[in-house]
Assembly symmetry: C2
Homo-oligomer: 275 residues x 2
Amino acid sequence: MNLWFTETENSNLAVKYRIKQVLAHKKTKFQELLVVETERFGRALILDGAVQTTIADEYVYHEMIAHVPLFTHPQPQKVLIIGGGDGGTVRETLKHRSVEEIHIVEIDPEVVAAAKQYLPELSSGFNDPRVTIHHLDGIEYIAGCQNEYDVLIIDSSDPVGPAVGLFQSQFYRQAARALKDDGIFVAQTESPWLNFGLTLPEIYHNIKAAFPLTRMYICNIPTYPCGLWSFTLGSKRYDPLEVNPDKIADLGYRYYTPDLHRAAFVLPRFLQDLL
Amino acid sequence: MNLWFTETENSNLAVKYRIKQVLAHKKTKFQELLVVETERFGRALILDGAVQTTIADEYVYHEMIAHVPLFTHPQPQKVLIIGGGDGGTVRETLKHRSVEEIHIVEIDPEVVAAAKQYLPELSSGFNDPRVTIHHLDGIEYIAGCQNEYDVLIIDSSDPVGPAVGLFQSQFYRQAARALKDDGIFVAQTESPWLNFGLTLPEIYHNIKAAFPLTRMYICNIPTYPCGLWSFTLGSKRYDPLEVNPDKIADLGYRYYTPDLHRAAFVLPRFLQDLL
């Protein structure tokens, strides 16, 4: 079929995916939602024109956003995920036996519904008794939290549209307050090669201002433009680089490994210089 | 200007770059050569429809293909580069003071001519007295070499068209013979997410059969499809993982660092499993 979805990164760069079938397409209250079956990467969730996740490579993003902070904390019990409506991050979080309670704050119920219907490989964890989903604004939700979570994961879309407030200094200060005294924060923090509204150094410095220890790590996501993607970890006590790789249990990974836990923090020179 | 170059990875995936200007476009004896000025990545060399290098990100590929093997060897003096007609690899190789003699075997003189005219940032090293350029077939050239080089770098295009023979077992065995007893080989070995003719595991195993020690390392190249790119190092004696990072001099890098020398060899689980 000569049907294509084109992701336009900016006015000068675009990526085109051949589509087998459009499975869902609607305007929700918050964004334009598209679920397609691509020829190359299988089913894909697309929000406001940007690929969020695909069946073929979703494990890269979800393993890296979940296991790096969860293994940095010695005993994570209570976890908050803001965004994450496709379910991949909670699926990975549930693999940690110490975790007793997970709250997901996904503003758009239609994203969760689409994931349940079209992405069962990702959304299986939504029915786990440890999980509660709140369809609320993450900024409002977190304003009511204090000293409550061990790990906080910001699994958001780009800093345009509904997620823009999740990249601001004020939100990161609230996030730090929502964490316990030894809590750990992580957020997806975009690509150094692109600029959707806020640049990666701006986001990094907003996080750095809110936490005693801040470290960026990277991975390669083939369906994110230019491939290189960053996460920024903010910590009140534990250093992700001090995790003993021998203590990292094998929970069934496809991208993450004990050695990669540390190697992901080794940044190329140009990225060090940006920060 | 609404002028676009589209790189078609396969029939299901494509990347589009907006073009300011077409600087050169010709059919050479070996391939279709295009030099364009892109809006996002500056000037780009494109061969047979595939972006080879751009001004904005060329340093990633060239630093990683040159410095990893050159710092693995304690005293590289004589270096052979097969391909490399844009000049970026020889520019990086020339930064190593121990290097006395570099031979470049680039089959297509028109690539070198285009690099000299349009990519002076890359091609500056061609005029260095230590450098000799041979416009010959790399396979034929190497058949005449024995026990001659300290480092051999295969800086080729994809395993389709003129470069296909550079990915075969027989060529790798000849490459091993061209090296001294403690020589080091490296080749760009494609992406695990793509398949141009030969898969990454096939190429890796062809190299592994020719060398006592074989190790793959990776980097992120934003203008290569899906971003993740691999190199495979074959060695007769020295192990790249035993290089002391404190002994890696700062030769003015933009991507490579002493810590990245080691971290680049830490592969994601799916890539370990592929090999």
